[in-house]
Symmetry: C2
Subunit: 279 residues, 2 copies
């Protein structure tokens, strides 16, 4: 455990051009996080003055009225009370669970599958691996993450760790404020945006024992899927998916830990969550 007062010694990690796009941990968080890891705080004590702060990256879109949804109505809000009239301010929200940055729990597609309240807290903290398919997605909106993408990642960044959250960065998050571009529907109404391919997910489940996957688009499957094979395979394996993940271009490809702050919605098929990445 760090001694009282240690945290004052934590300094901002101002490391150049990236700083304005990265949230840096000021105050007690970094030292406390270190103290929370048994065995590490003691090791850190002698090097206290050299310690750098922990970066916190927000992987969550603002949950807003009109956020593009795969089906059904987008979220809506209204003002309930105001400081002027009531002395305090609050809104009311109405939305389907698969709105904004959110989780698909196993029970979203699997009859009898675990609902969101059944996920254990320790399942909500996982090391991140970011698979960058931006170049391919820029020319092909139907691009899917393949086993080749995973092999290329591992050659460069090392083996995807057990229990990882594997996140697809297709660059699609940049379109989120333009629902038509984000959905990219053709004349027949079929969506065209990137997602995971079934083979890649099968590899991750069988060979890498991952915790889950996440995408920066509206669906774990590519938008043109009619069969939702990836949903069925992943959720059928009792793992969770995350959709509409934000800011993946700000996250390093490996080494960060994601806290999956999903609200424990009663009987929830998943639902809105706050994703924060540390490190």
């Amino acid at each position: 455990m760090c001694l009282p007062g240690t945290i004052e010694a934590v300094r901002e990690d101002l490391e150049g051009p990236g700083v304005s796009r990265r949230a840096l941990l000021a105050g007690g968080g970094a030292a406390a996080l270190a103290a929370a890891l048994p065995g590490t705080a003691e090791a850190m004590a002698p090097r206290r003055s050299r310690r750098r702060s922990t970066r916190v990256t927000d992987l969550t879109h603002t949950f807003r009225a009109g956020f593009p949804v795969y089906s059904g109505n987008p979220p809506a809000r209204k003002t309930l009370v105001s400081i002027e009239k009531n002395g305090f301010y609050a809104q009311e929200w109405t939305f389907g669970e698969h709105s904004g940055t959110h989780m698909d729990a196993p029970g979203h597609f699997v009859a009898g599958g675990r609902l969101v309240t059944k996920l254990r807290p320790q399942e909500l903290l996982a090391p991140a691996a970011v698979i960058d398919i931006r170049a391919r997605a820029a020319s092909n909106p139907d691009a899917a993450v393949t086993p080749d993408d995973l092999r290329a990642y591992e050659r460069r960044h090392g083996r995807i760790p057990k229990g990882a959250l594997v996140l697809m960065n297709s660059g699609w998050a940049a379109k989120v404020n333009d629902p038509a571009a984000f959905k990219n529907a053709d004349a027949g109404g079929t969506y065209h945006f990137p997602g995971f391919g079934l083979e890649a997910v099968d590899f991750l489940l069988r060979r890498r024992a991952i915790r889950g996957i996440g995408v920066d688009t509206m669906s774990l499957d590519p938008g043109n899927s009619k069969t939702f094979d990836v949903h069925k395979r992943l959720l059928g394996a009792d793992r969770y998916g995350l959709e509409n993940v934000a800011n993946l271009s700000k996250l390093r490809p490996r080494g960060a830990t994601v806290s999956v702050g999903v609200i424990p919605w009663e009987e929830g098929s998943g639902g809105p969550c706050r994703l924060l990445a540390f490190g």
Copy 2:
């Protein structure tokens, strides 16, 4: 950074009677969290085999229909689609922002105060200090956290760290499934449940530079407050509060770090959040 494969070495921290009430981190989370702290992973490498896992404690109540609210309508849910009829399952929710385990952002009481989307990610990770007033609250539902409580805490557990989240454990969370007992209204409609006293909050803001406070009841102020002095003082100081915090009896008094997973509700006065404590 930990080497690929390190995480497999992480073992469960089975430490006796407490284990069934504590969520223990299995899989990659602990190693990844260590790797996320610059300077610690290297220090940990030689002691890898001795490393213990990080505990994750959920401080969040299930967000359920009918959850007791201070004013307005409690949350409601309905089934939108089902696996039987539609191939997938999802619900719709309607609720006021101050439902369930939730945040009060500065703008909840302060005209022009920051709304929830304006909180920086690094403000959402803070060391916890748990102030236990269960004994006094058991005999007096109007009990408030006082400077004496804070002094007693510091004598026993050391100085409250800068940037801390100071959490009142009054034992009230045990009543959450009985709205009448949780609100404890008298014949005149005045609530009676514990909260923070103004003097204690003033001390924490002036002398300890805290990040925020949290309570296991419906309001930062004691239930019988008509003036909401603590809300006004805390939010007026641009700090946030957390209400309906769960499971504080499972958290150690100091040394844990809380991830405040509040959804970034557009124009939000605060709102539902997932609170996870590490360590």
